[in-house]
């Protein structure tokens, strides 16, 4: 046996082991968050996949459905630091990323990190922050570092921004620019828990009261390893083409003014990989892509005529129009 193929065999065994570990991590994360947040298993899985894929998440929903709780419990479960920013119109970029402050000795300035220097950042009501502040997030979300006064400051890894916005109450808000929405790997709406689960919340069996009980189910290193494993999930050529066809379908749909970008495709595939890993597979199947497309495309496409809420429907139409690859 030539040396390189032996190496490949060894490597693939290692990868398989790593994937198994990642699969376990993912399962524990889902379990931990699920113990706090009532029901909505599907959304919890998307959040977990998003964290595993190294993306950021946008939650669009009404107040009081558990957006913050979800972010907090995720932070608690991964055992990282947690920070929270409340979006208001007078929030300045410096309030988010940090600013230069005088040294204690009074000589010169030193960088005082802002709240984004945490593993899980919850940016509540992002659309209430003014565009300038929103834009301040662009760099940190894409590159994982903050530049203040010409000096770069990397944020801790893993780094996940979970932003929320209220889609109904639009007065006094700044709609997110396309550049900002494009930075989010997935957008979900939590929806309401069903009746039994609400009873759980009211009686204290679930919900915020349980947040303290969430134990760290994974350390940050395990999460980083899991992220690497996600990248090793195999994406077969036909599946990649399928993803491209979906993107193209959004670009040619008559009711979509601006279709999904290539970055959207990257997010979709990364999310699909995470889904595959969470399902314990070493390859991305077409339904991973369709599932990922469902939550990673709708917030990025610009619907003609500004029909909010139609995007989900249109993306579903695009999905239905593209034949899935099979054996």
């Amino acid at each position: 046996m030539p040396i390189d193929s032996r190496m490949t065999a060894v490597l693939s065994t290692d990868r398989a082991l790593a994937r198994t570990a990642a699969h376990e991590v993912a399962g524990r994360l889902v379990g931990a968050v699920g113990s706090v947040l009532a029901g909505r298993r599907d959304q919890i899985e998307v959040v977990t996949a998003c964290v595993l894929a190294g993306g950021h998440l946008l939650i669009e929903d009404l107040p009081g459905v558990g957006k913050t709780l979800l972010a907090q419990s995720m932070a608690a479960a991964v055992g990282g630091s947690f920070a929270r920013v409340q979006g208001t119109s007078d929030l300045l970029p410096a309030d988010v990323v940090g600013s230069l402050a005088p040294n204690a000795e009074g000589l010169g300035l030193h960088f005082r990190p802002g709240p984004v220097f945490a593993n899980v950042v919850l940016f509540d009501e992002l659309n209430r922050a003014n565009p300038r502040t929103q834009s301040a997030l662009l760099e940190v979300m894409e590159e994982g570092r903050v530049t203040v006064d010409g000096a770069g400051h990397p944020v801790p890894t893993p780094f996940t921004v979970i932003a929320t916005q209220n889609p109904i109450e639009m007065a006094g808000t700044y709609p997110l620019a396309e550049g900002v929405t494009d930075r989010f790997m997935a957008a979900i709406s939590l929806g309401r828990a069903d009746a039994d689960e609400e009873v759980d919340v009211l009686t204290g069996r679930r919900g915020r009261t349980q947040l303290a009980e969430v134990s760290r189910v994974a350390d940050l290193n395990a999460l980083l390893v899991a992220r690497e494993s996600v990248a090793t999930v195999h994406l077969a050529e036909p599946v990649a083409r399928f993803a491209v066809d979906i993107l193209r379908a959004t670009r040619t749909h008559p009711r979509i003014r601006i279709g999904a970008s290539t970055r959207a495709g990257v997010s979709m595939v990364a999310l699909g990989r995470a889904f595959a890993l969470m399902d314990g597979r070493d390859h991305v199947a077409p339904h991973d892509i369709t599932r990922a497309a469902g939550c990673s495309l709708a917030h990025r496409v610009v619907v003609a005529g500004h029909e909010r809420g139609a995007a989900d429907e249109l993306v579903a139409e695009c999905l239905a129009a593209v034949p899935a690859p099979r054996r």
């Binding site: 398989a16 070493d282 339904h287 003609a304 005529g305 500004h306 139409e317 239905a320 899935a324 690859p325």
Partner: protein, 973 residues
Amino acid sequence: MRLAGVARGAGAYVAAWVGAAMIALLTGATGVVILLAVGVVSAVAAVLAGPMALRRAEVHSLATATVATAGDDLAWVVHASAPRPVHAVVRLHGAEVASGWLADGTTMLSGHAPRRGVYDTAEVVWSTAGRLGMVWWRRRGRFTFAPLHCGPVPAERPAPAVRAPDDLDGPVATNDRAGHDEVDGVRQWRDGDEVSTVHWPSTLRIGEFVVRQRTREHDEQWVVSARSGTGDPDTEAAAVRRALDDCMARGSSASVQLDGGDPLLLPTSAAVVQWCAAFEPVVERVRRPPFWRRDLGGRDPEPDSTLRPAGRWAVAAAAITPMAMLLQPLGYGLFHVAVVVAALAAGALVTTRTRDDERLKRQLLGLLMGLIVGATLVDPSAITGVMTAMRFLMPQLLVTLCVVQGFECTDRRGARVALACSALLTAYASGVRVDTALGGFMLTAVATLAFASQAITSPDRRQRGTADEPATASTSARGAIVRTGAVIVAVAAVIGLLAVVPVPRGPAQLTLPSWLSERREVDATGELATATGSPLLGGPVQGGGARTGAGAGGYPGFSNSMDTSLRGDLGDEVVLRVRAPAADYWRGQTFTQFDGRSWTVESFAGGEGNEGPDHRIPPADGDLAYPGEPDFIQTFYVEVDMPNILFAAPRPMRVLLDATVWYRPDGALRADVVLPAGSAYTVLSHRADTTTEGLRADGDLSNLTVPDKYLQVPESTSDRTIALARELSLGSTPTYDTIVAIQEWLGEHVEYDLDAPVPPDGADAVDHFLFESQRGFCEQIATATAIMLRSLGVPARIATGYVPSDRDEIAGVWISRARDAHAWVEVWFPSFGWVAFDPTASVPFAGESPAHTIGGELVQALVNVVADHLTLIVGVMVGGAALLLTIRVVAAWWRRRRRGRWGVLQDRFVAAAVARGAATTAPNAELADAFDDELAAMVARTLDECAFSPSWHDDEHRFHDVDAAVTALEHAG
């Protein structure tokens, strides 16, 4: 559901049908009538195909963009269910805005945006002509959709716009120096202003924070004024849009002010378009012009008139059979057919390879090819008159015209004209041909025409929807069953239609066929003359006493003297084909004098013959006068060289033959030419309305005033012959029943035998036959009957000729072979004249022959064919089934080879899921949801792994598990 119209070129079919009907009238050919029925059934099928396809095609919903500019490209998303593609047109207020073919599911139709306005309902008209593509039917529906605001095209000149006064609540002041902004004042500090913009001098002076007010272009606000009631809202809207768009392009915010009212802020360009679209809407329905101002041809219902090369070649192929079918019986050989086929191919090649604008080139080439074909086919020397022109010029002309038309056949209309020409040629050939190959030719021609007429309209692969779906295996089998069923129904309809069509009486009087393939005159003034070289017929008895009489193959009945004990060695060759509505005796000669061994023809003085070609035959001896026109038309097609005897059904009254003819008193007709093979002549006879009751009513037949020659009995007639005759007449006067009794006695006591012994020299032939050998053939049976009747005083004579043995139901002709040469008795009845009696041939009396219909005859022929070739048919069916099975097995093997065993499993899984309502485009996991079964999830997972996993390894165990699971899923529910 309404009729949308008939595809262009349908008129050619109608014309071809009418032409074929004319041919049927002129020729009286059954084959043409069959073709006419096929045409009627095809027309009905073409009319019904549309509604049947349209019934299952339904448009469900319609959607489009919400903002557009008039005249821009605009796509429409149509959700429809359509098993076959249907064509759809989207109309807004009567104006067509999009059109295209709808597939099953969601289709995007490209079109253009309508004129300015706001639209929320559209009319969709979807139409189809089914598989046959001839008669188009349409359905319509109104659909509402999210309102489409269609703005005007911006005008050149903008509407007047003024800059709005600054309001206090301007933008936040920043220190951003980008852009060509200007400082235009100061104002009080507001939240959000940057510290660096503070105007410190003013701040210090006033004591409050004052910032530098900067205004950039995109902070400006412009108000565009619009006027209502200008009478031309479109122009006004276009001008307003131009002004608003200009503001937007500068980045300013724009408002519109209608007639000096409150300004309305339009924040986005979409809002601008919406406002302009909704501004004083002009709703104008596009109306169809009244019918008297419309184009005569009406609107072509067919959305596409292009002819694809495959269709063009099919049209050319469909023309080959009719041409060969027409040319072959006219004596053209393989060379001529090859020239015509090459010309057809050249036409197809030229029309598929040249561009549309090269029309002149095509026409010149077509003219050239027409000249070549015409020069090859037409032989001017053969044309001698109108009748020969019908035969020797018109077909050639038709073939040439069809070849020339082939060079013009570039669209579907041309293709239909070409097919109609081919159909007409088929009808022409069916009218001309009388041979047995006609049926096969007609079947081939009809099949190729049907195939070609579908090939020119069948949508190409792109319109049939997406790639090959795995579910096609079962649907194609169902389709084959449906198609076979449709063909069977069509055949049954044709036969059913023909069942009410009587067998044509004959050709029209105008075109009674008559021609001589070669004029070979003989010097015989009403006497017999043999065609030289004819192996079969005529000639006096030579080498007397030989069994074979008039040489090998000759029949002694067609000579002046017939020895009753001789019969030629007659073969199976077809001698005559007779187009006639009913079977009869085709009489050639009659014999009156009998000497105990031989019959002799009456002597005839001859003299001047009667010039043709239209001979009116006076009554011969014993014929009753008949004042009316003869109505029994027979056309004799001579297949081998014949003597100058004109065969005719008794009693001939009119003969069409371009020759001198002697009308003999004994009823025979002789010409001054022999009849070479390939000739034809027509006889019109009057058949007395003979029935059993009528004959019986004539009563006693022995006391009639007739010449003695019809009662002459030879000296040698034995007493026991006369005694037998007396006995059979039961001692009373002979009547019709006596004849029947004699025939019955002969039927019981005499054996029909072609090898009957020759009577010894000197013996009476009748006596020997009746009492010694009791074996014999028609001549002896007829002679015995005649002599017995004569001995009772009944006038009788012998006639010889042909009886029809077979009927060719397709061509509608009776076939007589050499061995059908026959002799029979003619008995004279006072009310009917000479009546033929024959116990051996089954020719019914004229008054009792059943009325035949073409359909009835076809069914009879089918039954006969099936009965005759049962083993062959069963063999072919078994063979066909085996072939089909083999094809399926090979196809399955091929599929397996191409798709792999897992691929086959995947296809089966998809088919099973789709059968349960899953979408064909869904991934495996979603297909599995259709089953609600853990097994399905396992199958989907394994199939995905097989397809996409890098670590996949094939494993017999897994394969068997999945195979079993798929089988279980296929059978579940």
